[in-house]
């Protein structure tokens, strides 16, 4: 029932070099995929190409295998929600929500009824007669969501729909989107620059950097097994150690760590929270705590392991102060080796 969205080697070019450079992505029917990346990486452009608002230079956009390139945006079975609510200022809220139905030739009575239902689903009953500008930003964005969902699109496109909202509203509207998306079972492509938003909402995350897809996988895969150094850097909190891989073993500042990687120079990535403080006789490396930062539920610490700085996150019950001698263990199962 739900639609599979496939992007094939998509290239979008505004004239000064490609903005989207060979993006290939498969979105399983009914799933929610987040296109994550810093601003200017081409994720919104990709979304606009899926919506048909711009024509790719090459590649293809397929819904259930049907190419959409020759299909005008208004004829694609998509609905899009933008960063701003973009309510049509000269129409009532009800007419705004019913707009897509009107364009599809749905009769007045049914339009009214379905718009009403859609507004109830976004928890805004009884605002149909109000005008845009009489609602708060969060309410308007919910109206915008209702307006997109009321046409029962096969594919829902969300372009940073929460980034204009303040923090508390953002979480609220995010939960609503997650719930509505599950209920409608609509295939959803969701653009965001916020990694938390992406990892919380999405079934799969596609990390985009400089117009290319860097890695596609579950949030956990991206977080714990970054495919490249750039992915690890985007997610921020990973330690990266230069070293050499030989015979299934990485050797560097942290000693020898058994890994599955090809021989040659390799960067060992290990998340800060995976680094453990162990007893003096356990396997590991000796280090001296340089400084700590208390963050309530956790404590971040930085330690010097023979000239290499290691960042780690420990339990607040572990009392560490600068100058402490500790033994650090890096569990091999939490390590990944990538090329520099």
């Amino acid at each position: 029932m739900a639609t599979r969205v496939t992007l094939e080697d998509l290239v979008v070019d505004y004239g000064a070099g490609p903005v989207v450079d060979g993006v290939g992505l498969d979105v399983a029917p009914g799933s929610l995929v987040a296109l994550l990346g810093p601003s200017g990486c081409g994720k919104s452009t990709t979304l606009r190409a899926v919506a048909g608002l711009l024509q790719p230079r090459s590649g293809d956009v397929r819904f259930d295998g049907r190419s959409q390139l020759a299909v005008a945006p208004e004829r694609r079975p998509v609905a899009m929600v933008f960063q701003a609510p973009l309510l049509f200022p000269h129409m009532s809220i009800g007419d705004n929500v019913a707009f897509g139905l009107r364009m599809r030739g749905v009769g007045r009575e049914e339009r009214r009824r379905r718009a009403q239902e859609a507004l109830e689903r976004v928890q805004l009953p009884g605002v149909a007669d109000r005008r845009p500008g009489q609602l708060s930003g969060g309410q308007e964005q919910r109206v915008s969501l209702a307006r997109a969902l009321v046409v029962q699109p096969e594919v829902l496109l969300l372009d940073e729909p929460f980034s204009a909202l303040d923090a508390s509203l953002r979480v609220e509207v995010r939960e609503l989107v997650a719930q509505l998306q599950r209920e409608a079972g609509v295939t959803t492509l969701f653009v965001t620059h916020d990694q938390e938003e992406a990892t919380v909402l999405a079934d799969r995350v596609a990390l985009m950097l400089d117009g290319r897809l860097e890695q596609v996988g579950t949030p956990r895969e991206l977080y714990e097994r970054p495919a490249t150094l750039a992915v690890a850097r985007f997610f921020g909190t990973a330690n990266a150690f230069d070293g050499v891989v030989a015979d299934g073993c990485w050797r560097g500042a942290l000693g020898a760590v058994p890994v599955r990687a090809e021989d040659g120079a390799g960067v060992l990535l290990v998340r800060q929270e995976a680094v453990r403080v162990v007893g003096p006789d356990d396997p590991g490396v000796d280090a001296v705590v340089l400084r700590t930062a208390y963050a309530g539920t956790s404590v971040r610490a930085w330690a010097d392991a023979g000239g290499t700085e290691v960042a780690l996150v420990v339990d607040p019950t572990t009392r560490l102060v600068a100058g402490d001698r500790v033994r650090l263990h890096v569990p091999p199962e939490h390590c990944t080796v990538v090329r520099r």
Partner: protein, 289 residues
Amino acid sequence: MSVLAGPAVPVVSPPRGRASRSWSAAVRAVSLPLLLAGLVLPFLPLLLWAVAERYPYPALTPTVTSSRPLRLLADPTSEVLTGLVNSVSIAVAVAIIAALIGLSAGRALGLHQFRGKRLVQFLLLAPVIVPGLAVTLGIQVFFIRYGLSDTRRGVVLVHLLAAVPYVSLVMSSVYANLDLRLEDQARTLGAGPVQVFLRITLPAVAPGLAVAGLFAFLISWGEYVLTLLVGGGAVKTLPLLLYSYLGSTDTPVAAALGLALVVPPVLLLAVTSRLLSGEGTPLAGFGRT
């Protein structure tokens, strides 16, 4: 004492603020009536003359009043009615055509970057900079050649020459304020290009379009020289009639004609003033207090 000294400071300053406030109020109290007087008083003699039969020099008001001048306006056998019909039909045609041109030209100028845009902007302003008389003298030959001279069509065309620059500039600023994402949003909701224009773009620019059309109407309504040159006296509009009566000795009729020339635009402005000022002003910074 020191406790009291703190709040004492702001107590000192309000009288000064009050003084400056009352000063500005006084300026307003004087300047506003002066401004109104300056705007309204010139029309007073016009009103008096329009109901006069005899109005000799030292008298403050007409010595003999009459409804003759005003009746002449409504007299179907006089030229006034023809002039009114000509003026209205030409000005309305100019307003509509100029608005249509401004609708597309304004979009191009307001929203798109293209080669030679500055040149186009300059050329658009050229008829404003170059005196209309010079322009018209130059193109009159062509009007004669194409049989547009002495016709209403010709007059409409030459009025457009004067009106289109203003309308295009007004519309370009209206379009510059248009949020194009609204059009994208409408497209993704199933509206084709025509629907987007009719249901989203047009309603959004409509107030500005009305203002632009009003400008075009007013430019055409008050035009004298261009009408005379191209109309050649065959197309008699109200300003032409007014000039010929001003040259004659019948001042009361000239005054009545003057009123006929003033009243319609004032009424039009009164109706559309909502668009020029207040909330949702279509022209940013235009007519705002």
